[in-house]
């Protein structure tokens, strides 16, 4: 396989749009990483999640290792209040279904939709910043 870009410009834009929509719907932050995660995929995913620095607590990281065929979803402490592990599991299933068919971008977009659907919650003045 030649070296190159994981996604076409259009796929990238589609994923970025799905991220924006998910963030708008939920008030949480979403981040998508596609690359090698090494042997200890969970540890690497947690490391990446920590790199999100100040947004980490309210961030959900979707880390995809296409070579190792491994998917990790990490929710921040704040994000987990709205996005429990069960919902993450459902999101993971919807993603891997499409990954199996070789559709990375489509799987990520659908997974983001599933996660956003579960993390959606009514805005409350005392918890959320005013829009």
């Amino acid at each position: 396989m030649p070296a190159g870009e994981a996604f076409s410009d259009r796929q990238r834009e589609d994923i970025a749009r799905a991220v924006r929509i998910a963030e708008g719907d939920t008030g949480l932050a979403f981040s998508v990483y596609v690359g090698t995660l090494g042997d200890d995929t969970r540890a690497r995913a947690l490391e990446l999640h920590a790199q999100l620095a100040e947004t980490a607590a309210r961030s959900t990281l979707i880390a995809v290792d296409p070579g190792g065929r491994q998917l990790e979803i990490v929710t921040g402490a704040e994000a987990r209040r709205w996005l429990d592990d069960y919902a993450c599991g459902l999101g993971a299933i919807s993603m891997t279904t499409q990954f199996t068919a070789g559709d990375l971008a489509g799987g990520i977009i659908n997974g983001l939709r599933t996660l956003a659907e579960h993390a959606r919650h009514p805005k409350t003045l005392h918890n959320d910043e005013p829009a």
């Binding site: 970025a16 790199q51 990790e72 921040g76």
Partner: protein
């Protein structure tokens, strides 16, 4: 082995019968036929080998060119070739932080994992 012999016998016998019987039809002229001059060997090769071959090659090229034009596609099971991509990674999120970095742990280990 017996099966192989049977397969060879059946596949060979059909064209063999056709070949053996074809001279029987060659001698008789059909009513209203109008044969032109025969083809020479190079002409025969041109029309029955070169032209079909070129047509097949052309179609093959057109189909392959479409896949050459596209970026390499991810195929599960093959090694990953691309550089890491981080969409909405550090410092690019539009969402303001509510909890500062010094507060409570950033993650409580929530999430999920899956293989495919």
């Amino acid at each position: 082995m017996r099966k192989a012999i049977r397969v060879v016998a059946v596949t060979a016998s059909v064209p063999l019968v056709a070949v053996l019987s074809s001279p029987a039809f060659a001698g008789q002229r059909d009513d209203g036929d109008n044969p032109g001059p025969g083809l020479t060997v190079p002409e025969t090769l041109l029309w029955f080998v070169v032209v079909p071959g070129a047509t097949i090659a052309l179609i093959w090229l057109v189909v392959l060119a479409a896949s050459w034009a596209r970026a390499p596609r991810y195929r599960p099971g093959l090694s990953w070739w691309a550089d890491p991509v981080w969409i909405n990674g550090p410092a690019s999120s539009d969402v303001p932080a509510l909890v500062s970095a010094d507060d409570a742990p950033q993650t409580t280990g929530g999430g999920a994992r899956a293989r495919w």
